[in-house]
């Protein structure tokens, strides 16, 4: 299948370009690791029996990793490519747009895997994180990554139509991610946030991803500390699926190949 073959070819090219851009490596991979060090070292308090804030925080950062690699990376990168004429040039070749998006998905997968492996490794080595303790949790971890990554990739491609140009993209996209991180139980314990903030965060995927990751990485007893007193696995999957569909629909309708 030519579309698939070229998609993989583009994926390899995307990864090669990614690794050659120091800024992107630092921004996407090292920045979350630095945040983990800072927060993990500063906040060592215990938030529930057998659960320290650093463990809670790592779970949140792993969830954020999905948003960084998918949504944030693509919503910033695609407008820059649009400015540079990359998209217009590709549009003039026999390569199908599907191959381009497959390439992006491969890039997101690669940077997600690297980022999660780093965060998990450091979390386990230094901040008392426990690897998923049962096959069931591993399976949940995997589908959270797959569906979460698909969701944020679709949303990143959809949102790439919003920034007017490449230069401004980061200024539009990054604050959204950071605010969602504050609201969704990454930097603070979710239950300690004001009610309105919790309700606002519950509209967006990140809150559900952090909750899902906590269900994988924290002891089962922690479920009583959650707002719903439940991990809400089914609802998490549903919310992520709805956002995936929204992302795909918007991508199809609104994707822009040129700045005009």
């Amino acid at each position: 299948m030519n579309i698939l073959r070229l998609g993989f070819l583009r994926g390899a090219l995307e990864i090669k370009q990614f690794l050659r851009q120091r800024e992107s490596v630092v921004f996407t991979i090292l920045f979350p690791v630095m945040l983990l060090f800072i927060f993990g070292s500063v906040f060592k308090n215990t938030i529930a029996p057998g659960v320290k804030f650093s463990q809670y925080f790592v779970a949140g950062m792993i969830a954020s990793g999905l948003v960084n690699s998918g949504f944030q990376q693509l919503a910033i990168m695609i407008p820059i490519e649009r400015d540079a004429g990359t998209l217009k040039r590709l549009r003039g070749t026999p390569m199908s747009p599907a191959s381009y998006f497959i390439g992006k998905a491969i890039l997101v997968t690669a940077s997600t895997v690297i980022q999660i492996a780093l965060l998990m490794g450091i979390g386990i080595a230094m901040f008392g994180l426990h690897a998923p303790s049962s096959p069931e949790k591993w399976i949940r971890f995997l589908w959270l990554i797959i569906i979460g990554s698909t969701c944020t990739t679709a949303l990143g491609i959809a949102f790439s139509a919003v920034p007017k140009n490449g230069r401004g993209a980061s200024a539009v996209v990054s604050p959204i991610v950071i605010i969602l991180q504050f609201f969704s139980g990454v930097f603070f314990v979710f239950t300690q946030l004001p009610k309105w903030m919790q309700e606002f965060a519950a509209i967006f995927p990140l809150k559900w991803l952090t909750q899902g990751m906590r269900s994988v990485f924290l002891p089962d007893s922690f479920v009583h500390q959650e707002v719903a007193k439940s991990w809400e696995i089914g609802r998490t999957a549903l919310v992520l699926l709805i956002w995936t569909v929204i992302g795909i629909l918007f991508s199809i309708k609104k994707f822009k190949w040129t700045n005009r």
Partner: protein, 284 residues
Amino acid sequence: MSSSAISIQGLTKNYGDFAAVDGINLEVSYGEIFAILGPNGAGKTTTVEILEGYRDRDGGKVTVLGEDPGNLGEKTYSWRERIGIVLQSTSDSEDLSVRETIHHFARYYSHPKDPESVIALTGLSEKADARVHTLSGGQRRRLDVALGIIGSPELLFLDEPTTGFDPEARRAFWDLIRTLRKEGTTILLTTHYLDEAEALADRVAVIVAGKILEISSPETLGNRHLAQARITWLEGGQQRELLSNNPTGEVATIAARMGGEIPELQVIRPSLEDIYLTMIGEDR
């Protein structure tokens, strides 16, 4: 159906109330190098982008290599196999090398040229392993051309290909275009440089305010071949000047009068640029 590589009848394109393209008719034959000249905002790029399939049109009939670029449907990819596009200013692939970029784009086509021979043909051999962001403006442009021709296109679109070239690089580029013509490639060129149109094009069209003013060979544009020649020379310590339809005879007369050598003799035909500036000036 159409025997022309490009056929345009009554093409129109409006942006709001502004008619960017206002009823253009034009035929480009297979194997021809055709240049479109015109001031900025005349509708050159809009016209070319409609032909390339980048923009929709509001009216008229267009076929490019026998297909309607505004309604390709399933033929989109097979049609794009047959065309090559060199866009205006791009800055992509910055972190790849020239060789990686050209080899990669070759994979998009079913019958690409040999990437290494394209690197040589575009004069990029010395820079083949350099990262694209280290290239000079002229080298960057040659890479654009390399990516435009890598798929062995039947029809090549060149949008202001030599902007920012030094004279030597421009000559080398012209030789490259002539090589492509020998291979049978049809070329549609837009340019600001009249010497470029004169050096390369079989025919030129002048577009002003979305309309075609004239289509002809560079030699006969604006009746240039019929225009009077200006003869200047030095006689009796004074600069003399004469306009004539019969410059050879005039020069012979002056030479006879002056008994041989004519000091500072010049016979000047109007350049394409003179003719062009008069044409677009008249329309303003």
